[in-house]
């Protein structure tokens, strides 16, 4: 069998090369993309470590210093764990790699909420708060801090200089590393271990890092058992642990069972759950690539075998068993696979290494962050290529066995025909009706072309599929990329809060702390700034009837958050009179920012004149975890009742909206429009988790002032004019807002630059992949169509002998190419609009949850694909046509 397989490979060199090339390209694609995706995931993890700290879990314990035994217990555990780490000792079911301790020694509330924190060296390392300048604070009046905290405290001095905080004087002994810009939500002043030792209580936090080669949730469970740590005392660093099996995943059977049996379950639930628990997108993409590769290999191999079908039938007549023929085919495939797969892997990874740095972060799921005032993802931080050996081995095993199946399937197609049929060739056309075409005045050359094409419908479908697959992938990728671009720009402005380079906000629990209009005017006077948008804020409550609340589950989940419970008595509260009160952010936007909201429009219209004339508001819809939007079944022109505190300087309890009704102003508004996101967002009240999409109403700045008397501003966004010196602008803004109590300045320039750069690379990559897939399918098309023309080589020879000119022959074959191209165009058009686009829309809306699916494929791209299809088909048939025309007529007839 092996000898026969080798002989066939030697004899059919070009076909052997085609099969080898299809295996090689599959391996290139598989290794390249899987490595890239895996590397991006690993790089994501590294980025997350930079942003969120290199720790997995932390346990918080309030230790009463008076109860000595508690404290000593805590100390004992800490020392024991540190000892284990030092000795690299394995615990029962877990291995601790690092352990660090932080102690909260006190807190300042004026001018901001600032914590006095002691952290040991290990903790500093894990939380990326290492000292970058100066020395550690030791004495009671010594502190170290990051630039962000110092800048916002108005400190312009250097190490050794003093700061006055709440009447106490502190000496700055060191500068610590700044944290990620978008993630800054707390200000810390680092102090020595002895700081505030006389205080009554302190909060201890233990940070842990386990062995990442083992599943984290398994180690955590073992650790909790060993030290009797209750589950609610443990907090996971989710941005890290999500990559390392930080939580026990639900079984696939359970997921499907839930989706089928629970009323909340649906198909989207399954997809999203598989994505979060089993990295569905990564694994799914690899499976699709494998199937695509296998389809190409099968098709190329099938064509190769169909050329020698008659020979195999002949061999069978000579007594060679079907098993031997199957074995020969499988050996042939395996030999080529064993040569092509490793070479493809090497080639794929080599290509990736060549352009890896440019493609880094392509599959990352979040912005590559930038630390305050600096870039994190510098070239030096490039985490490199990580080869997913497990995936590559799985691909090898899958293809190895799949190729055996391909061999058997091919033999089955031979078996379907009798031996004489196999030797005689196709006779399918005889089943058709038998008109005399020449009597109908038909062009017989056209008839022959058509009959050659459609004599075997399966082959035609195969060719049209191959012709279409590249185009479809290209169209889908373009559609996805175009929408990704729109989504990224919108998410950039709304979810990431990176719509403007500079942001000044008030860091305070009191809505009375605002930025005066005069400061806004001063900012507008800064020549280097453009689009200075100032927004006003007040917290409110939407009152709706009980039956209007369609998403009970949604708010039940939100209500669970202890932060909302403690501060506001929950997000959605039963008022007891048949209504619910839902806490809302109520914003007043600048006209420019209201205009920008049009991009986010779901329903209704945004007309500035009407908004003010008719006292209208814009409502931000709620979005569930599956990408669905809802606004309590209300629509534009419906009316909403909104309550806000009467006094902006109200006590904290008034914000629970359960005080006496005299404490509130209640007004009705007409809904002008419903949008998917708010732009300028507060981050002190409801929107405290990094740029979450909390429920909001938006009106113009004039309306919020007219209705509720809000005159001061809470948030200012601004962008630099083109070519402005961005470093100087930061200083100018800081100078402007320095005297505004509790005003905080943030510079997102680096983060925006990183994000834009990342988006460009991502678009480029997806287009690149589409082109590669197009090339692979092109290779397959060439092979299939080459075969389809050469299969009728003898007949073309006869026609030539009958006196058709070369031009006539070319025209005849050209017709075939054009027809294939046009059929593929129709097929692409139909399948793209009827199936692929719908699937893509579903994926983008419900799985990756793009903000708006508004982009369509540019007509030019569509036209290009259509023309390209015809061109490819024509090229694919004209190459063999040229060979036939150049061949000797007698030789052709004798074939």
């Amino acid at each position: 069998m092996l000898k026969l397989a080798c002989q066939y490979m030697k004899y059919y060199k070009s076909q052997t090369f085609a099969i080898f090339a299809s295996i090689f390209l599959t391996a290139v694609l598989l290794s390249g993309i899987s490595t890239l995706m895996y590397s991006s995931r690993q790089n994501d993890l590294e980025n997350s470590r930079t942003m969120y700290g290199d720790w997995h879990y932390r346990v918080t314990a309030d230790v009463n210093s008076d109860a000595g035994s508690d404290k000593s217990d805590f100390e004992d555990i800490y020392k024991e764990l540190c000892g284990k780490v030092q000795r690299k000792e394995k615990g029962s079911g877990y291995r601790l790699e690092q352990c660090g301790r932080a102690q909260m020694k006190g807190m300042l509330t004026v001018p901001y909420e600032i914590r006095f924190l002691y952290a040991d060296e290990s903790c500093r390392r894990m939380t990326h708060c290492q000292l970058i300048e100066g020395r550690e604070p030791v004495k009671d009046n010594e502190i170290a801090a990051d630039n962000y905290t110092l800048e916002n405290l108005g400190f312009s001095g250097g190490i050794g200089d003093t700061l006055n905080l709440g009447g106490d004087i502190y000496v700055l002994t060191g500068i610590v590393k700044s944290r990620w810009a978008s993630g800054i939500d707390e200000m810390n002043l680092f102090v020595g271990e002895e700081f505030g030792k006389d205080s009554a209580a302190e909060q201890n936090i233990l940070y842990f890092k386990f062995d990442e080669n083992e599943k984290l949730y398994v180690q955590l469970e073992a650790f909790q058992r060993a030290y009797h740590i209750p589950g609610d005392a443990v907090e996971a660093n989710e941005d890290i642990t999500m990559y390392l099996s930080g939580e026990r995943p639900d079984s696939i059977i359970d997921i499907i069972k839930f989706a089928l049996t629970d009323e909340r379950g649906n198909f989207t639930y399954i997809i999203l759950k598989l994505q979060s628990e089993y990295n569905f997108a990564f694994n799914g993409m690899l499976v699709l690539l494998l199937l695509f590769g296998l389809f190409v290999i099968y098709s190329v191999f099938n064509i190769s075998v169909s050329r020698r079908k008659a020979e195999y039938a002949m061999l069978q007549t000579l007594g060679i068993s079907e098993g031997t023929i199957s074995g020969t085919l499988i050996f042939e495939l395996w030999i080529l696979f064993l040569a092509g797969y490793p070479l493809g892997l090497i080639a794929g990874n080599s290509i990736l290494r060549l352009c890896g740095r440019k493609l880094d972060g392509i599959f990352t799921s979040k912005i590559n962050g930038a630390a305050y005032g600096e870039r994190v993802q510098n070239a030096e931080d490039y985490a490199g290529i990580h080869v997913p050996w497990e995936m590559i081995a799985a691909g090898f095993v899958f293809l190895f066995f799949a190729l055996a199946v391909v061999g058997f399937l091919t033999v089955r197609t031979i078996r379907k025909q009798t031996l004489s049929q196999a030797m005689a060739g196709d006779t399918a056309f005889m089943k058709q009706s038998r008109p005399v075409y020449s009597k109908r005045g038909c062009n017989l050359a056209n008839i022959v072309t058509r009959k050659f094409m459609f004599s075997d419908k399966r082959k035609v479908i195969g060719i049209i599929l191959s012709l279409s697959i590249g185009g479809c992938i290209f169209l889908c990728t373009t559609y996805m990329t175009e929408n990704l671009k729109v989504h990224a720009q919108m998410a950039f402005k709304s979810d990431d809060g990176l719509g403007s380079e500079y942001r000044v906000s008030v860091r305070s629990d009191s809505m009375a702390d605002t930025i005066p209009a005069s400061v806004i005017e001063e900012m507008k006077d800064i020549a280097e700034l453009s689009e200075v948008y100032a927004s006003k804020y007040i917290m409110g409550e939407l009152v709706i009837k009980k039956e209007q609340l369609e998403w009970n589950e949604y708010f039940r989940e939100k209500n669970k958050d202890s932060y909302y419970q403690e501060r506001y008595g929950g997000i959605c509260v039963d008022k007891g009179n048949g209504t619910y009160g839902i806490k809302y952010d109520v914003y007043g936007y600048d006209t420019g920012m209201i205009e920008e909201l049009r991009e986010f429009l779901l329903e209704g219209e945004i007309d500035l004149n009407k908004l003010e004339k008719r006292n209208q508001v814009i409502a931000v819809a709620n979005q569930d975890g599956q990408g669905n939007y809802n606004f309590y079944g209300l629509h534009p022109k419906d009316t909403v009742t909104l309550r806000v505190p009467k006094e902006i300087n109200c006590p904290a309890d008034v914000l629970k909206f359960d005080a006496d009704s005299t404490e509130y102003v209640e007004k009705q508004f007409e809904i002008a429009a419903i949008v998917s996101r708010a732009l300028a967002k507060e981050d002190n009240y409801l929107n405290v988790n990094n740029w979450s999409n909390s429920q909001s109403f938006i009106m113009t700045n004039r309306l919020i002032e007219d209705n509720y008397g809000i005159s001061g501003y809470s948030i200012v966004n601004a962008s630099p004019v083109t070519g402005a010196d961005t470093e100087k602008i930061g200083g100018k803004i800081l100078k402007t807002v320095r005297d505004v109590p509790k005003a905080v300045f943030r510079d997102y320039t680096a983060a925006i630059e990183t994000q834009k750069n990342y988006l460009k690379r991502r678009q480029l990559f997806f287009s690149g992949i589409a082109v590669i897939l197009l090339v692979i399918s092109l290779f397959h098309i060439m092979n299939s169509m080459n075969y389809s023309v050469f299969a009728h080589r003898r007949e073309y020879g006869i026609i030539r002998a009958m006196g058709i000119t070369d031009a006539g022959l070319y025209k005849m074959i050209l017709r075939m190419g054009i027809l294939y191209g046009l059929l593929a165009d129709v097929f692409i058009f139909l399948i793209y609009h009827l199936l692929f686009r719908r699937v893509m829309d579903y994926y983008m809306v419900h799985v990756v949850q793009f903000l708006h699916i508004s982009a369509v494929i540019p007509a030019g791209v569509f036209g290009m694909i259509m023309v390209l299809n015809v061109a490819i088909a024509v090229l694919a048939v004209m190459i063999p046509a040229g060979k036939i025309a150049a061949g000797d007529i007698i030789e052709e007839i004798r074939r």
């Binding site: 056309f429 005889m430 020449s438 017989l444 050359a445 022959v448 002998a801 009958m802 006196g803 058709i804």
Partner: protein, 240 residues
């Protein structure tokens, strides 16, 4: 009048040590209306000679004149058109288009020349003459060998060519069908005043022709004989 003239034809295949001289100084003249048999052993060069005469191949040396026109001087396209209009081919393996029925197979070469203007009366006459009118809707694979060869003859005659070149037209047929096919060829030769050049290795068939040209090792042996009785009804052979 000579309708076909081959002057000092040489045909060499291959190069250097692989060179094979298929034909050597061949000189043949064929008169209009003649039915000539070319006989010889396998590999003697008879099919090569026929292909050269039909313009399907080009000679290494020498001139070929068909209806007084030197076909070597024609361009590729001119040669194709000339061949289509003046020469009909009948092959041993019938070489019918498997995807077309008998009628369309016969009409096919006409459509190359005259587009859609097919003389359907003539095709019907041909098919009736050849006894396959009732098989006109059948595909080649559904016909017997003799029927397929009849269809091939009809196709060769469809353009009313001056010369019909038949390469072993009975090679795949049984003896009864062979006689039928040869009879048909002769009949059509007479009816349409056509010149037929037929390659065969069957001496008995060759004996029924007007003239026999023997080829061995690429050379013509003698000049052949004219059988008088076929057209004139008289018996005996005279050298031409």
């Amino acid at each position: 009048m000579n309708i076909l003239e081959l002057q000092h034809i040489e045909k060499i295949y291959g190069v250097k040590e692989n060179q094979v001289r298929a034909l050597h100084d061949i000189n043949i003249q064929v008169k209009e209306g003649e039915f000539v048999a070319i006989v010889g052993t396998s590999g003697s060069g008879k099919s090569t000679l026929l292909n050269l005469a039909g313009g399907l191949d080009t000679p290494t040396k020498g001139r070929i004149l068909v209806k007084g026109k030197e076909i070597d001087s024609l361009s590729r396209k001119e040669l194709t058109v000339f061949r289509r209009r003046n020469i009909g081919f009948v092959f041993q393996s019938y070489s019918l288009m498997p995807v077309l029925n008998v009628y369309d197979n016969v009409a096919l070469p006409v459509t190359f020349d005259r587009g859609r203007h097919v003389d359907h009366k003539y095709i019907e006459e041909l098919l009736r003459e050849l006894g396959i009118w009732d098989k006109r809707r059948k595909y080649p694979a559904e016909l017997s060998g003799g029927q397929q060869q009849r269809a091939a003859i009809a196709r060769a005659l469809a353009n009313r060519p001056a010369i019909l070149l038949a390469d072993e037209p009975t090679g795949n047929l049984d003896s009864v069908t062979t006689i039928e096919v040869i009879g048909l060829l002769k009949a059509s030769c007479k009816k349409y005043s056509q010149t037929i050049l037929m390659v065969t290795h069957n001496e008995a068939i060759a004996q029924t022709c007007d003239r026999i040209i023997h080829i061995e090792d690429g050379r013509v042996l003698g000049k052949g004989f004219v059988r008088k009785h076929f057209f004139s009804g008289e018996g005996g052979e005279v050298p031409c």
